[in-house]
Every structure is written in structure tokens, then in C-alpha cells.
Amino acid sequence: MTTNDVPLLSVLIALPLAGSVLVLAMDERRARAVALATALATFLATLAPLFLFREGEPGFQFVEYRPWVGSLGIAWHLGIDGLSLFLLPLTGFLSLAAVLVSWESVGRKVKAYFVSFLVLEAGMLGVFLALDAILFYVFWEAMLIPMFLIIGIWGSDNRRYAAVKFILYTVAGSLFLLVGFIVMAFLAQAQGGAPSFDLTRWTALRVPASHQRWLFACFFVAFAVKVPLFPLHTWLPDAHVEAPTAGSVLLAGVLLKMGVYGILRFCFPLFPEATAFFTPAVMALGIVGVVYGALVAFAQKDLKRLVAYSSVSHMGLIVVGVFCMNLAGLKGGIVQMLNHGLSTGALFILVGALYERKKTRDLDRLGGLAGRTPVLATFFVITMLSSVGLPGLNGFVGEFLLLLGSFRYAWWLGALAATSVVLGALYLLWMTQRVLFETDRSPERSGFGDFSLREKIVMTPIVLAMFFIGLFPAGLTDRLEPAARQIIAVSAPGPAREGPPAADVHILAEGEPHGLQHPRR
């Protein structure tokens, strides 16, 4: 049986949706188990592309194409390349982790809770799989609703403010995106005869220079909010603080990745001249974010706010790296998306575990946990070191490539970006000291134990992945290198775009989506 017979990618999206329907049909007691089984099955399914992916081959694989609204050029069009390949298992795993960490902490409206998570998972996977702009937009927005509910219903005290702030920020951004999509469809009509929302056709279009800058801006604002790029970040700390643990895990681990993913998928290939034009400004914002996020994180008392601002710093570095538009920077950016998902997701899991035990996230009221909960402390330290970018762990691989890319772009950019090496240690070690070391400052000194088996099961694979990526990154970077090369090739501004596109950018026949030209082996 070839992979073509099984619409693998559609199955990926359908699995969590089917599970959510099943959860609705169950009683509360069985709902958890069904949600867990669904998340596990989906995670295993997201692993399949890792093994079936043909390394070194440019373009999309596992492509599915069914016309949807033919007259408008909208299609059910899915595909995977090196850029999305590793984001799928990340999403699958963190969703599974989200179900597991919610096992005991969620007491009310259990069914609605797990339904929300499974719908969210379907939406997230859809965003990474969609090759049709409208499809992308549907998933993009569909994902917001469950996240809005998760924060707004199962969040803490100030959850309404945070939920509304989250959704307004994101919706405001995505409206610009929709405007951009519609304009692009008309452009496709003007140049190809029929309107099209097909992303693979859009990359072959020549967007007139007069339109590039404002179109780029429309797309970029939507994605920059998600990254979040300084100064569009203030929704993030509020959302994290109010969201339940599982919500924070997926927000930091997966949703933030969609910003950079969108930039790489849309902004770079569609608007190369505008990308080149805006690069200095975006890099400046990225560098400011690196330093600013780190310093603000250093000044926080709430553990979740601290981790939230650390994301602003880390994601700023990723943005700087990918805008260097060289191989090292792009590979580093993609790798670091995965790494940040692992380390920050893990940090939020740990913060949640701490909160369940101490009922506080205040750095002035924690402390001394290394003695009481050595296993939790060990996981905490390893995760912290992954975030610090200690060589041998995953964070260093991404950081090294990002800094190499920045350095190749300009030595002073590399030097500015490398300040994150010191700044990251500043707040992460401070956090560790206040949580694990010194003496216990909390009122709640007893009645809690070390990691349970369930918590160990959640954290162990993450830590193993951190070591594995840190020690053997070539397996990862080799697989995503063709995607990075393709991004560079199609994003080269200037005359290169005027002539025939670069070798691995295929000129598409009328109505034929990209990717189907590769016969399956």
C-alpha cells in the first residue's frame, strides 16, 4: 500500500475531531480516557511522516488535493515539507502532554475542556498542513475559539480580561491577513486567469513592486502578533498567567510557532523585495525583543510571566535569524522553533506541577524545592539548561545556527544577538535559585510529594528529545535543509525573480497544484 492510498494528512486532522465527537458522547469519567486515547493516536500518527519523509527532496510531500469551491479557486490542499515536518510531532506530543497534565487539575466541565483541546489540536495541525490560504485561514481562526474558551473558562481569576485581550489582538492581526489573502487571490486571477488561493501557485506569481510592501505589512502584522514580536507582545504574559497549565503549554509550545511559520510560508516567498526592504526594521525589533524580553523577564515575580517574557526574548532571536535569509539562520530558526516548543512547553508543565503543589507562582514565596522534590528539581534544571542553550542540549543547536546565521549576515548582528547568551542565564538562573534553592518561603510546607508516575511519563520523552537533538542534530537539520534552501531560492529579491524561477521552484500547469508532479516511488 502506498501512502497515496491513505490520505495521511487528512487523517491527522480528522483524528482529533473524531475524538472530540466521541468525548461528547461519553460520560465524564470516560471522557478523559477517550481524550487520552485520541491524543495518543494522533501523536503516533504525527510520527508517521517523520519515517516516511523522503530526505533531500525539495517541495511538498504527502500532498492531498481536492477542489472545494472551484469557482473561487479554494481547495482542500495539504502537504508537508521540511519546515512543517517536525512541527507536527511537536504539536502531537504537546497535545498529548496537555491532556495528561490536565488529568487531575481540571475538575469542572471536563467534557467541554477535552473537546476544546482536541478541536484545538485539529486546528493547529491544520495550520501546519494547509497549502490553501483559505483553508489556512479557517484553521487559523478555528484554533482561536477553543483557546479563547480554555483561557476564558478554565483560567484563573482575571481570565476574562486575558481571554478577550488574546482574541482581539489575534483577530485584529488576522483581519489584515484575510485582506492580504483576498488581494492575492485577485492577483492570481489577474496573472493566471482564475482566482486562486493555492499557496503553491501564489509563489509562482510576480507580485508587483507597488503592492509588495503593504501586502507584506498585512501578512506580517498578523504573524508578528503571534510570534510575538516586540512591541506586539503584551497579550502573551496576560494570556499565560490566566491560562490553565495545558493552555500555556500549547500556547507557548505550538501557537507561537505559527507566527514564524507564517512568515516563512507566506511573507518570504510571496514578497521577496518587500522582505528585503523591511529586513533592517524587523531585525531591529527582533534584537530589541531579545534584550527587552530578557530584562523584563528578570524583573518578574510571577513564574509564568517570567517564562512568557523569556519567550519574547527567544522568539526575537528566531526572527532575527530567519531574516538573515541564509542557510544557517533559516535552519537555526526552524530548529529553534522546535526547541523552544520543547523547552518552554516543558517549563510550563513544570510550573503547573509546582503550582499544584505550592498553590503559588510567586518567586518570593517559593524556594527550597530541590530537597523536597528532587526528581521535579532534576527535570526543572535540565529544562532550564535547555532554555539557557547549554551545549549538548537542544537549545544550543538552534542558538548556534541562529548566531552563525546572524554572524554571516553581519558580525555586529551576531555580536548583538549573542548577548542572549548572557541575558538568558541571568533570569533563568535567578528563577531556578528562587524556586529550587534557598529555603522554602511558602506557607504550604507539607502535603505534597515528588513527581508522580504520570508526571514522569510526560516529562521523560521531552528530556530525552532535548538530549537527542542536542547530540545528534544532523538528522534534523539534514531533513529541513531542502526547505530552507527553497525558501532562500524563492525569496531572492531582484532580477532572479524576473527570469525563470530557480530549479526547485516548479512552474505550475494551469489548475494543477504543486507537488503532484512528483510521482510516488
Binding site: 485582506v179 492577483l187 523584563v296 527550597g368 534544571v381 551545549p391 549573542a418 547568551v421 545528534f472
Partner: protein, 622 residues
Amino acid sequence: MPPESIWILPALPALGALANGLLGAAWRDRTVAAVAVGAVGLALAAALALMAEMLTGADDRIFSVTLWRWLTDGTLRIEAGLVLDRLAMVMVMVVLFVGFLIHLYSVDYMRGDAGYRRFFVCLNLFVFFMLVLVLGDNLVVTFVGWEGVGLCSYLLIGFWYEKTPASDAGRKAFIVNRIGDFGFLLGILLAAVTFGTVHYGELARLLAAGPTVPGDVVAAVALLLFMGAMGKSAQFPLHVWLPDAMEGPMPVSALIHAATMVNAGVYLMCRMAPLLERAPAVLPVIAAVGLLTALYAALSALGQRDIKRVLAYSTVSQIGYMFVALGCGLWAAGMFHLLTHGIFKGLLFLAAGAVIHALDGEQDLSRMGGLVKDLPAVSVTFIAGLLALAGIFPLSGFVSKDAILWGGFEHYGVFFWLAAFGGALATALYSAKLLSAFLGPRRADGRPHRPGPVIVAPLTVLAVFALLAGIPGLPLFTRDTFFARFLGMPAAAPATAASHSLEVALTVLQSMAVLAVLAGAIRIFARARRPADPAVLASGFGIDRLNDWLFVRPLKAVARFFAAVVDARVIDGAVNGLGGLSMALGRLTAGLQTGQLRHYAVSLIAGAFALIALTVFFAGGL
């Protein structure tokens, strides 16, 4: 033993750490200790076997192995590879020999501590990372070990984490090291971008091939790597973490903060010798930083009351001398001082640990005296180490330091020599201060308890080596010592060769002066009333307070300002203000307090539809 099997050296301590870390919770302390000590002991045995093979083989016998490809970027290829040449062999011997003795010592020294297993896991892990650092065949692998030993240092300084000063000290060590590593990492990147490789062998080949890279770029790489070395090896002004690092248990101070890790900067510079030789402008910088550190730290040591802090500043000072040697291009002399210092300073820390244990945790020198009567075995070994440190003829410290002072004279003239010599005299002064703990009257009540054989045995072995380790540095008054020949790193001749008789005369003068100062100072310090410690020396010339005012406080103030004002008021204020504005425009101001966000939403959605309608209208004309 097949030469490719050098990976076994780091693998053994790693296995020890893993076994104790994952399974050790169920084991008795005795088993935990046996695993940890056994792992390092086996690694030492393997290293000795390799050493024998190296000595019997050809002169340029090098063991190397490439384990796997770590990362590629275009033509840049970074591999996980190890190499054991003679330079690395010296470090491996120091790390495993001193490391083994200190592991052994810790079995007894740490007994009864609640974190017994954690201690040995970290100590094994440290040896693993140190061997990775030493054996790495390229800058990135070395950097992995480099940061790894930094991590272990952080964990072990803060070993007694309930104490806030210990936690603070660990954090300070990590962050100050990271400032150095900022330079190291940029150096790696610059090397990777300019040479297209980070492999030591490739770099040496490229550099030997001729001036393909502009000299100032080579100098920049050298300076950046030196910045990393300054952090790890505690050179002024990045030395501030080492005195505080004494919060850690004594074996940690001996192993990490005296004998091995802090010397990694010296080792790195020797590794990069082909590069430094192509950057002649950098050598005086290294020599100057080394000399300044040597002097500064020797004087600061003089002002300390805490026996561990005296030794810590002394370490900073002695490493300064190693950098002086490197700044003169005397690679072998620098490495030789590293070797002898590793032995006698490791000994001094361990013996001081035995003293502190015997006195129930007393670290104040002013409360120690006449210990030679109570603790004869420990005292004899301590004094042996101390005389070696002071550079008394013919002990190991004399041989290694003499070569450095003479190198300074030859390369940088008489004033440089005078300053370096002044540092040597200050060394004699604080050595006398330390000696006074063993001589003179008793200064504390109670009878000290004598340590057991597991503590005394390592001390004795180290003391014997402290006396004899000068032998490889013979013959005196030549660059062509046994040690230099073993290393195969000949020193370049200085521009103006001074006369041989002058060298002999200076050595005699130095030895006499050091002896005189030592003897005189002992009389002063052994008196019942000792001279008070000058405050300026005690605080290390106030560098910590200066850093606090210059960097720490402004940084914290800026962070608080960003968090409380910029983020909360300016940026978020603008966001909320935008919401308020759209609300006002929509004239939906019915319920200011309650409906704010809902109204904002309504106006936003209305605006969105208007926007989309406009877009479709205009875009239709494309």
C-alpha cells in the same frame, strides 16, 4: 588498547554519573562511592595505558577518533571528534590523577552529607565534561566540555543550596563565565566564518600554509577566545566569581577551582598556539592581563582571613603567572606551571579541608595556630605544598615559576620582571600567613580530631608529587626541558637574547629574596598579635562593590523600569488606549466600566467588515 578507543576516557565517568544518578537512589553510600571512585580509577588506568603506548611509539603519536557528524552548514563541517596528543595527555593526567585522589578523599570527607549521591554524580559528571573539553578535536566540542564543566561548577558551588550565599555564588560563577563565553562563542563563529573550519588540525594547517587571512582577523579570533579563557580561568576583571566559589565543598574547590577547570583557559590558549603565533599583537595583551591578575590577586590574598579565600586568590594569582608565560610564547612553561600548580594547589585545598574538618568547620586563620602539634601528618603535607607554592628551591613551584619570571624579563624587560617578581614576594608573604596556622601558639579551644587514612593517603601522595614534580622542568636555565621536549612545543627565541649568567644571577637573587621574605613574615604572623588585614586588600580592592554599582544595580533598575513603566504603562497603555479610542469613535460609550471590551469587539468587527468590503472593491480592479 586500540587508539580509537580514547572515547572510553570520558565514557567511564559518564557511566559512573549515569549509574549513580539513575539507579543510585536505592544503593548504600558505600556502593555509590565505589561506583564513582571506580569509574575515575578505571579511566586513570586507561589513560596510563595510552600514555605508555604514546611514550613507546613514534614521537608524533596521536590518538584520534571521529564519532559522528554533529552539524554541517554549507562547507562548514562540525564533527564530534576526540584527539589525544601530548598536550591533551598532560591535561588528561592532571584531571584523572588529581581527580582520582580527590574522589578518594571525598569518600570520607563527604560522609554523612544528605547529598552524598548528588555530590558524586556531579563530580563524575565534571570529570566527564573536563575530558570532553580536553580531548575535543575542534572548538565546538571543546565548548561543549567548557560549558559542561561550568555547569558542574555551578551545581557544586551551590551544593549546599539552602544557604543563600552558596546559591548566589554558584549563579555568579555561571553568569561571569557566560560573559567570557560570549567572547568564546563569537570567537568560534568568527573562526568558522573566516577559516571555514573549527577543527584544530585544519586550523593549524591553514595557518601554517601562509597569510591567507588578514592579520587583524586572526588577532580578533585570538582576543575573543582569550576572553573566554579569562572567564574560565578567573583573570582580572572576570576573576570575581572564584573567591565566592569557595562556598562549595572543599573537594570541589580543590578539583575544579584549583587543579583542573580554572586552568582550562591556559589549555585553550596552548591549543590555539598556532593561531596566537600568527597574532603577535595579542601576546602582550595576554601577558599584561596575566601580570596584572598575578599581582592583584597575590595582594588580595594577603588581606584574607578565611583560609579558603587566601587559597582562592592565590589560585587566581598563579594562573596569572601561567598567562604571563603564554604571553611570552612559552607554551611549555605555561603548561608546566599548570601541572605543578594543579598538584600543589590541589594538595593545599585538600589539606586545608582536613584542617577545617578537624576544627569543626573553622575557616578563620586568626583562630588557627600550632596545628603542627595536633595534626602532624596533615601539617607536613600542607607545608610541603606551601613551600612549593612560595617557590622555594628545589620544589616544583620553584622550577615552574622561575622559567616564567625569566621569560618575562627576556620578552618584556626589567620593569615587567620587577612587577612579576613583586608578585612572587607577595606570594611568599601570604604563604607565611598560611604557615602561621601551623606554627606558634594554639589559638582555639578544644582538641582537633585527626583525619582517617582515606583522607591522609591522597594528601601524602600529592605531597610527594609536589616535592618532585619539578623534575620534568629540568634542566634549569634552558627552554629545552624534558617537559618541553615531551610536549613538542618549542618556544620561539626572544628578539634579544639576554646572557645566561644574568639568568642564573636573577634566579639566585629571587630565591634568596623569597626565602628572606618568607622567614621574616613567618616571625611576624606567628606572633600572638598578628597585624590587622588592610580593608582594601580584604575586599579585593573593592571590585565587587564597583561591579555592583557599575553593572548590577543599573541593570536591575533598567529591568524594573522596563517591566513597570515601559511594558505596563507605555506599550500596554497604548494597546488599551487604542481600544478606548475605537470605542469613543463608535460612540458606544454607554457602560465605560463594564462593557469596554465588548464594545471594542463590536467596533472591531464592524471595522473589519468595512475593511474587507473596501479591499474586495479595490482589488477587483487589479
